[in-house]
Every structure is written in C-alpha cells, then in structure tokens.
Symmetry: C2
Subunit: 281 residues, 2 copies
C-alpha cells in the first residue's frame, strides 16, 4: 500500500497534499488529495470524505470550496478522491459523454462488462481509501462524508449503507433518486445492466425506505439549480425521510445554482454540522 | 458604453456577474467580473479592483480566493478584469509563451508595434473600467486595488501613479522590480522597446523612489514561492520603502507558495485592510 506524494501546498496553516497510488479495488493508478489541518501536527484528527460531481477530479473542491479555512479552525482533515477510475486501460463512454465513464463513476460497483473491470468506486471509497488514509496520515477512525451532485448521491448512498462507518453525512444538490432521472438511469443501465434490484442498492430513496440505523444528514439545494427538476428531485428524498422519520435536514437555498459558488457559500455550515458528530480530541 | 451580461450567480448572499463590452482603450471586446455584496441592494458600496497574474482571466480570483465571504460581510464590491486584450486581431507572443502577449498584458500602455494597437491595460484599469463600473453599478467613487504576481505589480504601479484614485493598495507576491527580473525585462522590451526611461514608469521601485503622495500598502509574500528570488524580489521594494519612509507593510509568510491557496489564506487580511481605508456608508 505505497503512496507517492505529488504536491504539498501550505494553506490556512495546514497542508494540502496530493498523492498517487495503485488501487486494488479499481485496478488502476489513482490520485487523491488530503487537507491536513494545523492540529494534525500535534494529534490525530477526524476525516471528512468529499465526493465530487460529474467531470471533477480531486482538485475542484480543494480549489474552489474554501473549506480549508473552517477545517483548520475545527481540526478536521478532508480527503477528496477522483470521480472514477482513470488511465489508458479504463473503459469510457463510447461517445465520450461527460455523464458516463471517465469522471462519472457514480460511486458504485459496476457489474456489467467492460465497466466491471475498473469501475468499483463504491469499494474504493468505503474500504480501500479509508484504509490508506488511516495507515498513512495522523487521523482517527472518526469519519464523515459529503459530496456534490453525483457526489452527493455517492455520500448519501454510502452513508445509508454503512451507518457504522460514518458519523454523519451531508450533500449539496445530490442526485436524490437516480432510478428516476436521466443521469441515474443512464449510469445504472450502463454500469449495472437492466436488473432494477441492483439499481435499488444505489438509490438514496430506495435505501432510506428500508434502513434501520440512522446517520444524521444535512442537504442543501439551490432553488435556481438548472438540474433541479429533471435530475436532482430532492422532493422524493424529503417524502421518504418524512414517512420514515429519518433525521434529514434539507434546506432549499433561494436563488442559488449548481456551482461551486453555492458550495462555497454553505460549506461552513456543513463542516460545523459534521464537527458536532465527529469526536474531536 | 454598453455592457452585456454573460452570467449571474448568487454567492454569499450577493451576486457574481460577468459582462462583456467593447473597450475603447483596448480596441477589442473585453470581459470582466464583478461581485456585488448584499449591501449593494440597499446602498452604493466601494470597490476593490483585483488584477490577476500571468495566464489568468476574470475567473481565477473569483473562483479560488474565497473573497466573496468577507466582501459580503464588509460591504465591498470586487471587480476583476482580464489580464490582457483578447480576440482574433490581438497580437500574441510569436512563440505563444505564457509570459508575454495574451494573458500577460502587464498593466501598461504598449508603445512598440504591433502591441501598441491593443495592449493598453494601464488606461483600461485606471480610467475606462472604473468609468464603466461607476456608470452601471451601485458603487461609490471609493476605490482600492490589489493583485497577484503580475497583477501585484499592476496594483502597486497603478496606485503609486494615481494616489488620488485609490485609497489603498495591496499585493500578493508582486513582481516588485520588473526592470531587474526576466519576466519584467521581456515584457518591457516587447511592449515598450529599449528606452529604459519608459520602463521606469512601470516599475514599483523606481516609482516609489520619486513619489510625493503615499497610498497605504500591504504586501504578502510566501517564503516557499518558486519565483521569489529570480522574479519577485520583494527586498528591492522593502529597501526603497525604508529609504523613503513609505507606509508599506510587507509580510513574509513562512512556508507559503505562489498559488491561490496562499491568496485564499490571507485575502481576509487584505479586505479588512482595504475596508479601513474605504469609506463604507
């Protein structure tokens, strides 16, 4: 489990670092970024995992969200993986579409060839990446998870399926009901085939219907988001949470869109929410 | 003086907007960005002009610096122009270098053909752009100016030459003595020719030696900046300021580099510095 340092940059008194490593789950070379707050020089700190949206890499959130300021105050590390397997041997969408294949792994384990060879982002985020982080960095086993759009879908589904692994979950503009929107249907059909039983394993609404153990959840959604009605469908999630009595706070933010300007505006609330649920020594 | 809105995005309760317009000074179509804080819906607000570095456009600072949070608190608008004239008829470096021509206007008025046809960024930033901003937006005539690297050079030279136009100036990692570094010598020779009298009009150290009227100045410089010794030379500026008794605070920031992670870390200090010198109603 060797990892290779690519960059180290000081920011808000801590360090933003990028690493590459051979991933066993994904069967390719992957890159991730970690922000270590100043507190990590003295003690182990908890970790927030951030899952980005379509077309992103490890860099978008770290460069644009402004999260390091608050992570440095609270003493939380942030880990940002890439959004899909990468490299020459990795299958892509046949037309190079932005919403399937490279940059669009949807945080699931593909079962349909040829994508089943590399597209195992679920295993990577749930198991392999935390093991690497906890072996190589001054962090505790306290974890929370957050993400945006496709990454909001990833964060919610992963937390719902692994309530003992994550103390809290949050999302910006998540794809809330992927079985019922074009992005999700395209991805599920391409990665999983036509068996809707498999699809249900990666749909937040379906998962929430059957869940026994709750992970506290915060979701922010911009009211001027171009993808709101066709792709994101937060009302579906609100309805299930209400029926289920699930501790979900979903806030409609008036006038905000789908961009990182929206994330930057509310990321402080998300970090403070996670800090309440992470044991910080 | 028509301007055309390209985008409007809500961020920290205010609005990030991009516009294009025909520039008389630059003789081409230009784009700029403005952040209007929430206060601008009720009253006119002062303006901080931000000048970006080599290869940047109006977008880098707005996306990566995290300045809107503090601007929204303080009630300051931020305006970010592009870094050079643009478009098909605009001459570029013959080899397409990153440090001359497009994206590298150096905030001066070129006198050497063919660059004298469009490269008048000095006039654009000092006169045309503020006139446009003050005609079209709810702002006062209170202005400050800041920038990074080539834009730090631009901010310092423009403030030193126009002490009645700007209440305060700040810079991150400025090219402090361009007559004595490779970036500056290449740019000055290419835009101005061999007459060093002309060069002196755009060199912060030379201008500061002869100045009568002081504009309060704050400069941050990272100690791990790759360009520190060869290109930026802050010590030259410190020496002149000391001899002259100029009110310059130059802070060496241990461990920081030349990136926007550095800017994001200290932009709050810069905005609060400018706020002290801007009349905010």
């Amino acid at each position: 489990m060797t990892i290779e340092n690519i960059s180290s940059t000081k920011v808000f008194g801590g360090w933003h670092k990028q690493y590459s490593h051979q991933s066993a789950a994904l069967n390719c070379t992957m890159r991730f970024a970690i922000y270590l707050p100043p507190q990590a020089e003295q003690q182990n700190v908890p970790v927030l995992y951030w899952l980005s949206g379509l077309t992103c890499t490890d860099e978008n959130f770290m460069q644009k969200a402004g999260a390091q300021r608050i992570a440095a105050e609270l003493g939380i590390a942030i880990v940002a993986p890439d959004t899909s397997p990468r490299g020459e041997g990795v299958a892509d969408d046949k037309d190079g579409a932005y919403d399937f294949g490279l940059g669009a792994g949807f945080y699931l384990n593909a079962t349909k060839p040829p994508f089943d060879q590399h597209y195992k982002m679920y295993d990577y985020v749930v198991s392999e990446l935390p093991a690497i982080i906890e072996a190589h960095f001054p962090v505790t086993h306290q974890r929370s998870i957050s993400g945006h759009s496709m990454g909001g879908h990833g964060a919610l589904t992963i937390a719902l399926k692994n309530p003992n692994h994550f103390n809290s979950v949050s999302a910006f503009s998540p794809i809330s009901n992927p079985m019922d929107c074009p992005w999700g249907i395209k991805a599920f059909r391409g990665y999983l085939g036509d068996d809707q039983q498999q699809w249900q394993q990666y749909d937040s609404c379906e998962l929430m219907k059957n869940i026994q153990q709750f992970v506290p959840a915060l979701v922010d959604q911009g009211s001027n988001d171009n993808f709101l009605d066709e792709q994101l469908k937060p009302q579906a999630l609100i309805n299930v949470a209400k029926n289920k009595g699930y501790p979900l706070e979903l806030r409609m933010q008036s006038g905000y869109d789908h961009s990182y300007y929206f994330i930057a505006t509310f990321i402080e609330d998300h970090l403070r929410f996670h800090a309440k649920h992470l044991k910080i020594s």
